[in-house]
Symmetry: C2
């Protein structure tokens, strides 16, 4: 059931089989499988999964190619709740490994927050990442277009940008190299530094050879209407017309709550085995937080794998019978 | 586009980037990703993917929990065709590795078949498996219930069988051991040998200890109506009432066409890396044919991985630009 600040303390004495951090595609898929394995599951979600921002999923098998990401999340949450899973809107602050169980400290609410501690035997980290966006004076101007035709995922949306005039918005020389695979889809590429970093001689030559334009002026604002970005206005009031944009500024990893636990990482991503188990035997990682591609359908499969492996673990430890909840 | 026996010879001179064997969940997901990477794709499907038989998918994120498997396949095929992928109903007989390309021999049609050879640079094996079913005198009697409440997948449908009287239909002593994980969901289990194999002393004791009943008589027919199996009639006219069944008789692997190529297998399953590449650098395996769990959402993720790795390979080999088809 949906837990609330008022009802939550009825659940703090319980030891859940699994606590899932993050109610995105990976966490919800895990939750659906777990409840179907008769394992008690609590999903804690802070809101605004990365797929929530996606206006159209174009490559998820079984759904029409203009399905908004938030529809998948809505359907998944309903599905999970119909299987009697518990769901709480809250922020996970810290995980403490107590040996057989984890203590999970959460903050509920932004104004006058309350704090609770939940317990579970297993933990699934599905809290994902969020893309860094260009920092302009008026951020609403960025949010107007991000997730529409100001894309953050080349693998997802390269096809949408084919033969278009595309602006690439980077945060470092290295981040602008996404232009080369983007060049598979379109030759009309302008690279923007927003005046924030230098591009070395060698990389300039590679961009020139590829036919890309480098623009190093500070950006004043994105232009457009109805969530369709049509270009960029620079600090000297000049305008670069564009059909689409690709933001390549790295990501923020939502994994602060794991800091007290020693885990193997590759960059910011958790390393897992083929069933999504991390280097800690009772912690699994799913979706964008783990090593691998950041795709909704892969996140959903991660959830299936992690849930199944946890079921196998618990079943072997407990014997052969669990009474339906 | 949908190719037909009449139009197919317009496509036999072409070298496809990728030929996908099997239009199930894995192959269709791969095809959707491949076409969005601007790679030319031909899916060859013989019909009747395993998920086609599933009356209700209960655990696929984003779809209501009673969605028929064939709906996912229908939506996926439409999606693939809308991206201008090619699709042919035919049977793949043999693959010949020509070094840079594969020659793929197919048979089109059952009556008065015609034969064609296609060419592709990469191959995705997504032809899956099909479950062995109990062989009764009247097979229609089996088909009436299989995929309804005569299940073939414990991971998928254990939840549906919770606390029910379940018959397990095996093909060997080992295959009946699925009863132990099934015991997580229900204690009311009867094991049927159909009079076809012996069960040793040690296993009998384990079944007895677990409280399971062993029935070794030949089966005359399943009983029931409206696709709901309600029991089994044995050769002596006695009846065992059941609420559901679980078939555990192994599977047939649709991989004969790969026989001429040396590949690494684990049992009948192809071994792949994390991006679904087999031991052959230009052959990928997706879905039930590869090592891993047989789940629709995992098959769909396999397709995304294989397609993306092939795109990376081809992009690096060709340079940075492909004109949209």
């Amino acid at each position: 059931m949906q837990l609330t600040r008022q009802t939550v303390n009825q659940h703090t004495d319980q030891i859940y089989d699994v606590l899932v951090v993050g109610g995105g595609a990976a966490g919800l898929s895990a939750g659906i499988y777990l409840q179907r394995y008769l394992l008690s599951t609590l999903i804690i979600d802070k809101g605004k999964a990365r797929s929530f921002w996606m206006q159209e999923l174009h490559n998820y098998l079984g759904l029409p190619p203009d399905t908004p990401g938030r529809e998948v999340l809505k359907q998944g949450k309903e599905h999970f709740l119909s299987l009697e899973g518990d769901y709480l809107n809250a922020y996970v602050e810290e995980i403490i490994d107590e040996g057989e169980t984890f203590a999970v400290k959460v903050r509920i609410g932004r104004k006058n927050p309350t704090y609770e501690v939940f317990h579970s035997r297993y933990l699934i980290a599905g809290s994902g990442i969020i893309d860094h966006l260009p920092q302009l004076a008026d951020m609403k101007n960025v949010f107007d277009y991000a997730g529409h035709n100001l894309h953050v995922c080349l693998i997802c949306d390269g096809y949408e940008m084919r033969d278009q005039r595309v602006g690439v918005f980077g945060s470092s020389e290295g981040s602008l190299q996404v232009a080369f695979p983007l060049g598979w889809f379109t030759p009309h590429i302008t690279l923007f530094t927003n005046g924030l970093f230098e591009v070395g001689h060698e990389m300039r030559e590679r961009f020139t050879e590829a036919g890309y334009t480098l623009n190093e002026r500070p950006i004043r604002q994105f232009l457009g209407e109805n969530h369709q970005m049509s270009g960029v206005e620079l600090d000297d009031s000049s305008v670069v017309e564009l059909d689409a944009g690709l933001i390549s500024m790295g990501s923020n990893y939502h994994a602060d709550y794991l800091k007290g636990i020693e885990l193997e990482y590759n960059g910011g991503n958790l390393v897992t085995d083929s069933m999504n188990r991390t280097s800690h035997p009772r912690i699994f990682a799913v979706g964008d937080l783990k090593v691998g591609m950041n795709q909704v359908v892969i996140a959903a499969a991660d959830g299936a794998n992690a849930a199944t492996q946890i079921w196998r673990d618990i079943r072997r430890a407990e014997g052969t019978r669990r009474t339906a909840a």
